[in-house]
Structure formats: structure tokens, C-alpha cells
């Protein structure tokens, strides 16, 4: 039925810093189907962006180590991107896998016309004349719904508003009709009304161009309406994954639940205090031996701090790494939803 377009296997990324080696991504496995939207959710510093930059091959070589032996691989249409050199990667970037970034204010070259920035990726990857590239760029600007596209092509980024710039960024990224779009917090720097517009736009273009989207965000609210599947990352590992329904209605990992609880609800009134998760993510230079969430977890047990939990599968799509679902775990005091899952 669905065809895997990208498969990430046992991805490990670490950075050499002055303080020591920081293990930013510690064994991440996931896949992406053709045309679907996969959301990667988690707090700042949990490895979401590093994972997506690793796929793009955009991590600086000088201080980064990516594990390449053993099972580790990033398979794109069956080809292992980890074995690709800089030259081969630059033929994939922008053409078959594109990326848009968090801050549209700084992601566009301030001294280059918007039109030239869109045309650039077309000219790099397609054998077309400048005139033809310009026409395509114009078409892209119209596609991302920028009014007066003809005139806008000749303008510079500083003449665009934040939302407009993100649209232009999307036009740059999609100019060559890539198979995968990685959107790294595409709406974080924008205000709420613009956020919705941009997410709608990405959704529309995804259908039109039949591409798969990896949506990286810390905002579960953004994810709900657009994602097909969600995976939750914490401290460089994926702690839970499932379909949108499973994550929103039947989440199992205490961290996922904490994330969900910290989203304000429409019926929340101003007398209630919004739930906030206490503590901070662990130091990745010396990551904890057991479950890295254990110190902040409401239901933490002795075993949690000693050994990393095995994966428990709940359905074809949902699985979670948590000791609470071990047959011997004490389920007393768990919220109802979680008990139901654990009894099964």
C-alpha cells in the first residue's frame, strides 16, 4: 500500500565540544512513506533539528561524528545517504529533498533578490535557460500565494514581511518539486494567524506536488491537523510513536502526556493554572544510563534510572519505550488511559 521513501536506521550523531562529546542523537529509527506527513515532536535540544540536518547532510563535518558502521543508515529510495560525498549530496539537496527553516527573517540572503534566490535552485538542478528559470520562479511565487508575484521577484527579503518571507522560503525549497520536504519549525517565528496560513499552504502544496513532509516542531497544536504520524523525541531518542489519533487520544509515554497536557485547551479558563513540565532535559554529554526522562517523570520507578526500557508495541503503528508497560510494572495510580493500554 504505502511505499517507504526514506528510512533512517540507528542514527547516532555526536558533537565534539569543549566540554566533551555531546550525544545529540542516540539511535533513532524511523521511516517516511511516500506522500505522508510525519511529525517529529519534542522540546528544544532533543535532537529533532539535528536529525533533520543529518538527513540533509548539513551538519558541519569538522566537529560532528555520525555513526556509519553496523546497522546505521539513512536510506533514501534505497540509497544510503551516509555514504554520499558532499558533491553527491548537493545533487540531492534542493532537488529531491528540500528543507525550510525556523526563522524566515534570517534564512534568506539579504543582498539577493527573491527571484534570484528561487531561480538559483532551479538553475543548479535543471538544465534550463535563465528565462525559463525566471518563469518557473514566477510560477512558484504564485503557487505560494504571494500577490504581485512579477514585482515581488525583483524585491529583496527586507521588503517582505515575516509570513511572506516564509512563503518565499517555501517557494525556494519547492522550486524543483522535491520528493521530501523537511520543515524545521516552519511556523515558530511567526504569529498565530500566519502560522495557520503557512501550515495550510504546506498541506496544499504537499498534495499538489505529491511529496512527503517531515514536520519538526515543539508545538503539538500545529501537528494535530496536518500530520499523519507523530513521533516524540526526548534526549536524542524516540520515546513514542503512533498515528495522530493514537498520540492524541491514547498516548502511553508519560513524556507525551506531559507535552499534551501543556497545550492550552479551548475550555481552559483563567482560573486554572496551565500544566507545565518541571525540570530540564538531561545533559547529553553524560546521558543517563536508564530512561532519560526518569528524573522528571511522575511515575518514575527504580528500574527506570538503571536500564533503558524495551519497546512495547500497542498496534501496527504505535509503540513506546517505557517501563510502565512491562508486565511486572505497578500500574496503580496511573491515569485511566494509560492503565487500559498497560493491561492489554
Amino acid at each position: 500500500m504505502s511505499e517507504k521513501i526514506l528510512e533512517v536506521k540507528d542514527l547516532h550523531v555526536s558533537f565534539r565540544t569543549y566540554a566533551g562529546v555531546s550525544h545529540a542523537v542516540r539511535g533513532v529509527d524511523f521511516y517516511l512513506n511516500k506522500g505522508e506527513t510525519l511529525a517529529i515532536v519534542g522540546e528544544s535540544g532533543c535532537g529533532k533539528t539535528v536529525t533533520s540536518k543529518a538527513i540533509m547532510g548539513l551538519l558541519a563535518a569538522s566537529n560532528t561524528d555520525i555513526k556509519k558502521d553496523g546497522e546505521s543508515a539513512i536510506l533514501f529510495q534505497g540509497e544510503n545517504l551516509l555514504n554520499y560525498g558532499e558533491k553527491q549530496m548537493s545533487q540531492i539537496r534542493g532537488k529531491r529533498i528540500s528543507m525550510i527553516f525556523q526563522d524566515p527573517m534570517t534564512s534568506l540572503n539579504p543582498t539577493m533578490k527573491i527571484g534570484d534566490q528561487i531561480m538559483e535552485s532551479i538553475l543548479i538542478h535543471q538544465k534550463v535557460t535563465k528565462e525559463e528559470a525566471r518563469k518557473q520562479a514566477l510560477h512558484m511565487l504564485e503557487l505560494v500565494k504571494i500577490p504581485n508575484a512579477e514585482e515581488r521577484l525583483k524585491q529583496y527579503p527586507f521588503e517582505f514581511s515575516g509570513g511572506m518571507r516564509q512563503r518565499a522560503m517555501i517557494a525556494v525549497a519547492l522550486a524543483c518539486k522535491p520528493e521530501i520536504l523537511i520543515a524545521d519549525e516552519p511556523t515558530t517565528a511567526l504569529d498565530v494567524t500566519i502560522q495557520a496560513q503557512i501550515m495550510d499552504l504546506i498541506g496544499e502544496l504537499q498534495k499538489e506536488l505529491e511529496m512527503a513532509v517531515i514536520l519538526v516542531t515543539h508545538d503539538l497544536g500545529v501537528v494535530a491537523s496536518v500530520a499523519d504520524r507523530i513521533q516524540v523525541m526526548y534526549a536524542g531518542k524516540i520515546v513514542e510513536r503512533g498515528t495522530v489519533k493514537e498520540i492524541f487520544y491514547e498516548s502511553t509515554h508519560p513524556y507525551t502526556r506531559a507535552l499534551l497536557n501543556s497545550v492550552p485547551k479551548i475550555h481552559t479558563n483563567n482560573k486554572e493554572v496551565l500544566y507545565s513540565l518541571k525540570g530540564t532535559p538531561p545533559d547529553l554529554i553524560n546521558p543517563p544510563e536508564g530512561c532519560s526522562f526518569a528524573p522528571r517523570c511522575e511515575y518514575g520507578m527504580m528500574v527506570c534510572r538503571k536500564k533503558y526500557p524495551e519497546i512495547t508495541r500497542f498496534s501496527d503503528s504505535q509503540e513506546c519505550s517505557c517501563w510502565l508497560y512491562h508486565p511486572k510494572a505497578d500500574t496503580a495510580g496511573l491515569p485511566e488511559g494509560m492503565i487500559r493500554r498497560s493491561v492489554k
Partner: protein, 312 residues
């Protein structure tokens, strides 16, 4: 819009020049000593009167100032030199500016081209041996004064290896040493500035965007890094542009080049007040003009500053 912008800048420039002229005039007038007092004392009364009338020394400062300004604005004449009788400051400027400018301009071209190149190489190879080497050389070149370089160059290139003449003026080969000695310090500072501005540009988000588009390394540097990291360099070129006309007193003195810097310093020590004021105004004019040029250049390099765009 551009015309209006430039017009406004020119108006400010005129005001600035007026203030500088006035300030210089009164400062020089207030300075102790008199260029001809010594000579005047030995002259017959009649001669004294003629000289006093010619230069207006017998009148109060304000009257002299009004006389001077009237003369300057109507004829553009800076007045006759007190030391080189019969020659006006204008003649000195006319005869010697080009000499200084030629050396200065050549040096500036070398400074910018080599500096930008080295700075880029250094930044793009950050932490590698090339980078360390360039940085050490830069520190050396900045710390060692230009006259030391000049003498070293004279000793080795001219005296020991006899490649070029030690000093002199007139032919192309005479340019080699002064231009080299003049350029070295500048090359070092342009390298230093270019390195740091390139490093900061490399860290910008739009460079990641460029890579994500599929730009190869060369293209990223040519299309995205170079222009953005040149912006601070353009600011530096402005004052340097004004500086080249003034020349370098030290270099001109060491290589016996009849440039403007040479005369300027001499005028101060001679108390030749018409020359001092005239040359000061001339340098101020160049400086102010070069700042306007920089503003225009800036607009070309950085579209955000281009005021011409303000149609909407």
C-alpha cells in the same frame, strides 16, 4: 529619490566644510608664533606696511576671517603661501595631489584585493595551518610600522638585490617600493576585517539555506558569502579613499616623493598658515566627498540601504 538623497548629503557636506574652515582659521590664528614676524622686524617700515596690508596682519582676526572667506568663496583661492612666495596653496595642491594619489590609489587597490582574498582564504580554512599562518603575518604586518618595512624593502630589494632603485621619482619602477611599503599595513587590516566578517557570514542561516538548495561550496562562497562579507570592507574604503590623496608623509619622505603629505607637514612646521588652512580644507573636502561616495557604494552592495527604492 536618489537625487534627493544625494542632494541632502551634499548640503550637509557644505555645512561641514564651512564649519571646518571656520574652526581651522581661528585655531591657526590663535596658534602662537608668526610666520613673518621675525623677518618683518628687520624690514623698513614701508615694507612692513605693504606686507601687513597684503596678509592683513594688522587687522583683527574677525576682519581677516571675513576677508579670507570672501576671497575663498568668490575666487576659490586659498591664498598665497607665506613661505613659497608667489605660489598659492592652490598651485601646491594642483601640482602634488596627483603624485600622492597615484601611489595611494595603487596601494589601495592592492590592499583591498589582496586583503579580501587573504581574509576569505583564512576564514574558509579556519583552524587550519593556512589560517594560522595568515593570522600571524597579519599581526606582524599591523604591528611593524611602515617605515621599518620601507627600510627593509629598500635594503633588500634595492640595495642588496638591485631589483629596483632605492628612491627617486618619475618612472614606473620608482613606484614599486613606496607602493609596497604603503600597502602592507593596509593589506593586513583588510585581511583581518575580511576574515572576521566572512566568519560571521558563514554562520548565518542563509548560508545553510544556500547549502540546502544544493549550492556547491564554490557557489556558496561566490554567490552568498562574498557580497555579504564585503559590506564592512566598503565602509573602510571610504576614509581610505580620502587618505590616498593626502598620501603618507613617512613614505613620501623616505622615498623622496614630492607628494602632498610632504608639503602638509612642512607647512605646519613653517607656520605657513595659508597653506595649512588651504590643505586642511582640501583634505576635508576629499573626506566628505568620499563619505558620500561610500554611501552610494553601500547602496549598491547592500540593497537594504538603498534609499532609491522608496517608491512605495
Amino acid at each position: 529619490m536618489m537625487v534627493k538623497f544625494i542632494g541632502k548629503r551634499v548640503a550637509y557636506a557644505v555645512l561641514t566644510l564651512f564649519l571646518i574652515t571656520t574652526a581651522t582659521f581661528f585655531l591657526v590664528a590663535a596658534a602662537p608664533g608668526d610666520p613673518i614676524a621675525a623677518k618683518v622686524g628687520q624690514m623698513p617700515e614701508q615694507a612692513q606696511e605693504i606686507i601687513n596690508e597684503k596678509y592683513g596682519f594688522d587687522k583683527p582676526v574677525t576682519t581677516r576671517y571675513i576677508m579670507y572667506m570672501k576671497n575663498l568663496l568668490t575666487t576659490g583661492d586659498f591664498g598665497e603661501s607665506i613661505v613659497y612666495t608667489g605660489k598659492s596653496a592652490n598651485d601646491i595642491i594642483k601640482d602634488n595631489t596627483l603624485v600622492s594619489a597615484k601611489i595611494g590609489l595603487m596601494a589601495l587597490v592592492f590592499q583591498v584585493v589582496i586583503g579580501v582574498l587573504l581574509g576569505m582564504i583564512s576564514a574558509l580554512n579556519r583552524g587550519k595551518p593556512v589560517d594560522h599562518m595568515i593570522r600571524v603575518l597579519v599581526v606582524l604586518a599591523i604591528c611593524v610600522p611602515s617605515f621599518v618595512f620601507a627600510s627593509l624593502l629598500q635594503y633588500f630589494l634595492a640595495f642588496k638585490w638591485k631589483l629596483v632603485p632605492v628612491f627617486g621619482w618619475g618612472e614606473l619602477r620608482h613606484y614599486v617600493l613606496p607602493v609596497a611599503a604603503y600597502a602592507i599595513g593596509g593589506i593586513a587590516s583588510y585581511t583581518k576585517y575580511m576574515r572576521s566578517s566572512t566568519l560571521s557570514v558563514i554562520g548565518e542561516d542563509y548560508i545553510v539555506t544556500a547549502k540546502a538548495k544544493g549550492c556547491g561550496k564554490g557557489r556558496v562562497v561566490r554567490k552568498h558569502v562574498l557580497r555579504n562579507s564585503m559590506i564592512p570592507i566598503v565602509t573602510m574604503i571610504g576614509p581610505a579613499l580620502a587618505g590616498i590623496f593626502g598620501g603618507s608623509f613617512i613614505i613620501e619622505k623616505m622615498f623622496s616623493i614630492p607628494g602632498l603629505g610632504f608639503y602638509y607637514v612642512k607647512a605646519v612646521s613653517d607656520n605657513d598658515y595659508t597653506m595649512v588652512i588651504g590643505l586642511t580644507i582640501f583634505f576635508a573636502l576629499l573626506f566628505v566627498a568620499s563619505l558620500i561616495v561610500v554611501d552610494i557604494l553601500y547602496g549598491i552592495v547592500d540593497p537594504r540601504i538603498r534609499v532609491a527604492k522608496g517608491s512605495k
